[in-house]
Symmetry: D4
């Protein structure tokens, strides 16, 4: 404790870092950031940008960078992205930004991204499913997993789905994103013995639209799979990461 305070006193530790060290989280004007989440749960806290002002997003991202050397952000608007890039450009000029649709991963040079031998397959049915799959992918990349991304293989053109069966089989775990009637994860899970995480996407209008039919279909699937909530790319990516890390450490332990 004394050490920490000394470090804060001599400037080698910021107050936020010290608070994170002591309590596990940091509280600022924009709310709380749970710096210890990754340690405890294996998945870092992501900053959900939706419903926050650009200033709040920037503050939380900076706290994340200060205490964990990187920030993972989801559902960013164009305006939030612009503020973020400008602010981080000043406060963390050496940080790198990786964007996927409306998600972003910012890392300081201090961060050493881990590397997992396990492969996560990420599959989309159509163009409209890509943003949600991108959010899942960024979570997996942050954890250092190997990614095999397969886009646009919806069942309306079944040949293309079948052509990829071997790639599906080679993954350690699959995330399959689909909207409308959400049949793709069922079709894929019927073809391979890889664990499948169904990720319903809020496309489609009319009855059962906005992902409802897709979620229902994945919960009722005549094959074995589990599912996450509609548009919950972060959760699908997190769950796949936890599985990939378990696989990875099984390999390591047995070495």
């Amino acid at each position: 404790m004394r050490e920490l305070l000394d470090a804060v006193a001599d400037g080698s530790l910021s107050p936020a870092e010290a608070e994170a060290e002591l309590k596990g989280y940091v509280t600022g004007d924009a709310g709380r950031f749970d710096a210890a989440r990754e340690h405890r749960r294996g998945i870092p806290e992501a900053i959900l940008a939706e419903g926050k002002s650009p200033e709040q997003v920037v503050e939380l991202a900076e706290t994340a960078l200060e205490t964990t050397d990187r920030a993972l952000l989801t559902r960013l608007s164009d305006r939030q992205i612009a503020s973020l890039e400008s602010a981080i450009g000043e406060s963390f000029p050496d940080a790198t930004v990786e964007r996927r649709s409306d998600a972003a991963l910012i890392e300081t040079p201090d961060r050493e991204r881990p590397s997992l031998s396990a492969t996560i397959g990420i599959v989309t049915a159509g163009t409209v499913d890509q943003a949600v799959a991108d959010e899942a992918e960024l979570v997996c990349r942050d954890a250092g997993a190997t990614i095999d991304r397969v886009d646009d293989v919806g069942v309306a053109a079944l040949d293309r789905t079948l052509d990829q069966a071997d790639r599906f089989r080679e993954a350690d775990v699959l995330i399959v994103a689909a909207g409308r009637e959400g049949a793709l994860p069922t079709v894929i899970a019927g073809l391979v013995d890889t664990p499948v995480i169904g990720l319903p996407v809020s496309s489609g209008y009319g009855y059962g639209g906005d992902g409802e039919a897709a979620l229902y279909g994945m919960l009722q699937s005549c094959t074995v799979m589990s599912a996450v909530n509609v548009d919950a790319g972060f959760v699908a990516g997190g769950q796949a990461t936890l599985i990939a890390r378990t696989v990875d450490s099984a390999r390591d332990r047995s070495d």
Copy 2:
């Protein structure tokens, strides 16, 4: 009018037949039978046995036989079937009975079943979908359509689905029955350019069970198809029949 009354008087016409002739329908203790339905709508009135006493079912079947030379019954319980067979055996000893699961078609020798050149494909995903498909099939058989029945080709074993693609293409119209997540009609409709009528089946427990996920999935399908209500085998069969008859008369007219 006078002719009819004379016929009733001399016993060559039953009162029910006369009422059907004059008003189009017959009213008895068990309710009304719409004898003119087939003429008007192209599809005969079926007797929905569910919720009726065996006596009511028998009375309605006899009225149907008397006025239209055949009776089409759906959702028969074992007890209703037994009463029916025994009663009809006495009142219409020459009638023939064709059963499919809990549906039955009874015909007097006077009835000349029509014959349609058009083919209706009827496809099921699994064992649990067969009773509903049987109800649809009997409606189509009553109309004299050619039936191509393909069972047990659900997407959990996709090879078997794909193996039948050519048969699906040769039909003039397809009825595809599926429960659980109801992906089969979507997969088939993506393979062929035949009109598909989706028939959701009330299988599955938990959320979206009892056919709800299947119906939602057919309404949200990423390919083109129309749907009928959950377990509505009669409606699917009727709609396919109307299409088949249109196709049939197109052939005839162009001869």
Copy 3:
């Protein structure tokens, strides 16, 4: 393969056309266009403009024109229409544009629109149902079907409905669009022996509004009909087209 590459090299084939030829679809910045859909499913891929930027709509339309000689677009906003007309005016100056409410069909002079002898009746209950019916109609026109359009015959003025019964009977298949309580398809299907496709429309406020009561009513209809999802004009038009084409080829085959 070599031939195609030669054609691309000498400029007689665009890269998009070559990709479509080889893979069946074309992938650009705005997503994927499935050029082989029509061949496989009988119905071309329509470009759903809703949720896309004007630039994306233009790009997809141009890809469609390049590879299939026409583009079918639905749910266009005024701003998207303006961009589209201006862009296509330059890139395909000889193309013709046919608009119906917020749907559009663009064709290059190379396209020879097919002609089907079968007649599709398209019926609306009221003014509010016309845009959805227009979307259905454009799909049918693209396929060359004969259209018999009957507007404003909702059951609140039943005489007008009944006056058209003969026209309803003459069609090979009927699309009946209705919002609010959606009684019109039931009333029409009770009058004629033509196949009816119910098309619920998202009008009405309060409980069961936005097309829910209409869809429920069509699924529960006491007569025989099938239904598509709320506002799914494209699907209704596509299903009617598939039926019309089956009828048409029955006529041809029997010639």
Copy 4:
């Protein structure tokens, strides 16, 4: 007060009658009977038999007879009917029983049924709607209204509906009972300027079954009408009675 107690003491008034006189209601083992309901609300309290033992039904019926000279019962099972007829036969040997489906009205000779000049039209779409309509009718008969009952005029055979338009117009108020898609009240209300009370009936299976589609359709009707809950025959009959009585007293007052 003293008078009442004297009457109880000398046996000319039963304790139940005295309690009803003093407090407006009577409390027994089977629950409370609100003897003053009719005076206050214009409609007597009906005894809902469903979920009660035959003994409870008998006790409540006897209390009703004792304090209001008649008992109105709804949703009676066959077993409850048998108990009731046997018990009342002993306790009120002179009472008369009028049954309609599973509703019953029992009256002692002391009761003088009122007579209303106003006419209530009660219309059903099909056989399955008759029991609920019967419940409504018995409430109206209890109040002495003139009833014009028209059965089996559902829209699947529209001519029969139209044939009755003049009878519909002559009623002062119409109750229209319909299940499935519930289109009949909308069709009738579009034909006549009589107030229509929609009474949805819990028929139909699958999605929107059990009266849900019918209720939704009546609430969304494109014409003017009000509705009661699914199967609420008592409420529809009560509301029609209140209107009929208002009409009746308007006639009287103006005499």
Copy 5:
């Protein structure tokens, strides 16, 4: 027919009036106006302004004025009102406008508003219910009914509800508008023997908000009443008018 055409030719009849006379309705750019609705159904067609451009609203209002001497408009925005007043000021300079919240009734001097002896009580629970009640009231005023309006008597201050019981009793029919839990119509219907039409209002946030709890409560009410859909002021007013007119003509007939 010839007469009409002569009248159009000499300018004494507008083309719209002639079309209305011949067909019962008039079709313009903004859709169809059903000029014969009032005659057939007793309630004129109201122009639902929501979702229409100011130009469409003006066109429909002018058609209504031309063919029926008045226009009834509901759900007008401020911008639509402004356009309307300016346009009508020019085309029908002598017309009078009566506004209630976002509803309006415009009449030409040629219109002679009828007068009904029957009284319609219109009651609101709170401030938020007034706009919907105003819509109902304007329909009743258009028909010439006597109105007794009682505002702000919600059950949170029950004394004020009870204080008005006598006024409630004197009405021939009551419309009771309430949002949130919608208890007011139940409380009033328990106090008086007047027919009550429950009018649920879309207030309230959270679960059961937007009028759902209010509608459910009115359908489940432990007293006798009928209901209309959420916010359906026009329907409630129309139904009350039909009842009032029946009462009124009962008085007249008996004179």
Copy 6:
């Protein structure tokens, strides 16, 4: 620990009592009984009889009696009651049983029921609400609260509700049970400044039946109250008890 084992060894403590002492709960064939629940949460674990065999109910009741000197049981069927009385009569011959509808409280002579000065008012709208209110009441009685029970004061006879206002005011907390539209808690909460806990009851058929409308109405109430789930008499009683005990100890502490 040693002490406990000695006590078990010499028979002065049963094994179940020892397990409860050590772990807080006891596990038998019929499942786990949480003997420490009352200490931790202030409310004992009740034995939900529904879905259990009579033997399981008896075993759990005996465990409860052995470890906490009393057993609180809810949703008992007649058959379960009979088994229970017979078994307890043998195993705990001195125990007393207090029944309220389908709930029961069994106490050994060792139990000294506490006494709370605070008063809990328990109010029902009608006969049908009494069983659920009885379940709540027994929980409160078990805790020794003073109970003021007021039955049959539903809003359909509002005078009776108003007559009891002073009793409602004198309670420290009120539980108000109501089914159908559930208006009673709203009406009472508008009259008094006592905390009200709404207890919706699963009565009513049709839309919003089975307590749904009542729950919605309590959540949307225009006055201040909290609610528990439909038929959750135990929860309502428990919550009232926790409040009563807080009030009681406030009195004690201030003595």
Copy 7:
């Protein structure tokens, strides 16, 4: 009465104060303000700003200040806040404003805020729950309760929840606000014997979002608690206040 009028005449009483004195409420252009609500129900009427113009909010706030010396406002937008501060600054220059998120309490110097000895614990799961908890808190502060606010103790970091168990135990009543899956109130209610009021918050996207899962979870909680509607901070605060005041007066009475 005469006294009041004299006071109005000589200006010592405003007309609004006089109306409030006589009728209990004041009616202005912006609607009705129920000045007697607090006296009757123990909780003042709050002004729900949502859906009102800034002018209406100001008018109602001024009426509240005039008649009850303070105004409690909820769901204020930034624009409404600005208008309010400017207007009150002029009309009540000595008033003090206490803001919590989008709720505000304005008091004139004449108001003597009461003081309650009872403590209300207000707990939030995360940052997103704070605004709703703030609304609840302001209601409790207005009543003078002692508040113990504990933020950011959601179950994702369970240690922090457990660390606060003693503070939870010391409160007389707890409000626990949580969105998403809403597990926090269940976890806390399992730890302490304090009454818990669950306050679901409308966070979360996808299925069960907007507070639905949280509300369901609180109604189904395996421990004892009651709940209010989603986002109903005012109701939770009001209910806690009623309990706190009962506790407080128990202490006083026993002094």
Copy 8:
């Protein structure tokens, strides 16, 4: 092929085994058994006993034993169990039966159960969740996974949950079964970095009962997890098995 037919001819292969070898599945009177499912999907087809006659269950079990040396059955009634044990006792006298609640695994001596090094933790909240967890467990045992079962650690007694945190951490994957509000998987997933599969159980009455609140809560969980449908023990066990096998083969491959 010839070899197979020879084997059938000489009796060394049953017709069912031959059909399974050739087509992958066997079709009998009781429906189809997919003998190749395990090979393709990694999880064998389970026989869902619910809704089947005892004879059908026996037939399907015998087919499974004949073609895959074991049968996995779920949702068995007592009557089905009895038939099964008696029939298998005769046809496969050496088979062993392992039962867990209403699931059973029957194996012939020919079957060599595999062995997986990976550990699957299976956790239940309460007694009511055990049958569903047992179904999941049997699927995992069939695959040879190491099982760590932890029962009765629901959050109502949080200490017991926390006491097991280390066991939870040691598993490679966790299935957490919970009904009512379903908070347990959220609490556990917040404590450990193991992948968690939420398994909602259909306990709880009232709103959100039958597992709905539990499913919603798992989909909305503030931590990372995936979920399966309500009561879908087989699916949860299958998904955990697929993960365990991936982990297992990772260990093997790295050896």
